[in-house]
Symmetry: C2
Subunit: 95 residues, 2 copies
């Protein structure tokens, strides 16, 4: 299993609710993917312009397939326009 | 429930295995805490000097109590010495 933390800082003038609504659609579609274990949208409790996806995938192949799906290609470009920065890390748990 | 992502970048000369061993003890002790749901040590698959704790707590009070425990006060200062930077975010899931 791999875990992804995709932390996004929105632009100061971005409409946060608009961003969240688009991201909700991405969540709904992504959760239908076979290799997706969890995929959840999160907001920093101290800064609502920090919006982070916390994800668990069965393996890297599942994540690569996700990045090629129609819903990612359709929804993510619009999200990117509202972001100032994006920081993505892929993790394995240390036993 | 709240979630914490504590992302640490180790110093270039830090002994990563030494850091992980100390962090493992913190994990073992923290998982015994009543308000802790999950607490897991993770390493970036592309950069072993990025070590991140992914945490779930019943509420903010449980997290505050954690920060006052003997094991945090005993183990965390040693971990901090091996870190170049630390980035902590506290999240709520967006429904």
């Amino acid at each position: 299993m791999i875990k992804v933390v995709a932390k996004c800082k929105l632009k100061p003038d971005a409409n946060v609710e608009d961003y969240l609504n688009q991201a909700r659609e991405l969540v709904a579609e992504t959760r239908k993917e076979k290799g997706c274990i969890t995929y959840g949208l999160h907001q920093d409790i101290n800064d609502p312009t920090i919006v982070t996806m916390l994800e668990e995938w069965v393996n890297e192949e599942a994540l690569n397939l996700h990045n090629e799906t129609d819903h990612v290609k359709r929804i993510v470009p619009g999200l990117r326009e509202l972001r100032e920065s994006t920081e993505i890390n892929i993790y394995k748990e240390v036993e």
